[in-house]
């Protein structure tokens, strides 16, 4: 089970450990974004610091309806106590956790500042 908290901007936030090259890792705050159908977005500075290897280029539709070609880099994260290989979409919009990472889980959010965020396996 993953626990987090709703911040002052009323976004559901969880802590996420991201692993990179040569044993490096960083712990980041991630917004759980149910409008994102992928797994993870990461900012370019963090991708560079962790030296995450290039994966592929893909088109994504953004919130304003534009289609943009974006690079995806490969990483490993700690998710619910287990290491997991994840493709990270490199964008400047902060760290987002999306519906692909939530597959098989139930998301509960007390939608107020300081409210609890729970991500629990469905079975």
């Amino acid at each position: 089970m993953i626990r987090g908290q709703v911040n002052a901007a009323r976004q559901p936030i969880i802590s996420l450990q991201i692993f990179g090259a040569e044993g490096r890792s960083e712990t980041v705050e991630a917004v759980v974004d149910t409008g994102f159908d992928g797994s993870l977005t990461l900012p370019p500075e963090l991708v560079a610091r962790l030296d995450l290897p290039f994966g592929m280029t893909r088109p994504y539709v953004m919130g304003d309806g534009r289609t943009v070609e974006i690079d995806v880099h490969r990483t490993r994260i700690l998710w619910d106590g287990r290491e997991r290989d994840v493709d990270a979409v490199v964008t400047t919009g902060g760290v987002l956790v999306g519906m692909s990472l939530l597959r098989g889980y139930r998301l509960l959010v007390d939608a107020e500042e300081g409210g609890e965020v729970l991500i629990q396996p469905r079975t």
Binding site: E22, D37, P44, M56, T57
Partner: protein, 103 residues
């Protein structure tokens, strides 16, 4: 842990494959799709995820985007890859708005 490319750590430059920009990969990927792949896949594989090695034209294809990506990484290590979804304008969407129509 990874067989990393020697990408220089310049965070203000868009990260990419060491030899190709994302524009080059996307351009070449779309071109290969139109010329070499589309006629073989569009009839029966609409909606499936496709990852193209833009140097060889080889590809991986399937309904599970995570599985297709992992197969492509294993089969084409270090290659410049272009991912797309057959019959759709994007692989996915970031940001809440009206859902993309399913193909």
């Amino acid at each position: 842990m990874f067989d990393t490319q020697s990408v220089p750590p310049i965070p203000w430059v868009n990260m990419s494959h060491p030899e190709y920009t994302k524009e080059q990969i996307a351009g070449r990927g779309k071109s290969i799709y139109e010329q070499q792949i589309r006629s073989h896949v569009e009839t029966h594989h609409t909606g499936e995820y496709l990852v193209i090695n833009i140097e060889t034209g080889e590809y991986e294809l399937g309904e599970d985007k995570l599985a297709v990506s992992q197969r492509a990484y294993a089969r084409f290590p270090g290659a410049p890859l272009y991912g797309m979804r057959i019959g759709c304008r994007s692989w996915g969407q970031i940001g809440s708005h009206e859902p993309m129509p399913e193909p």
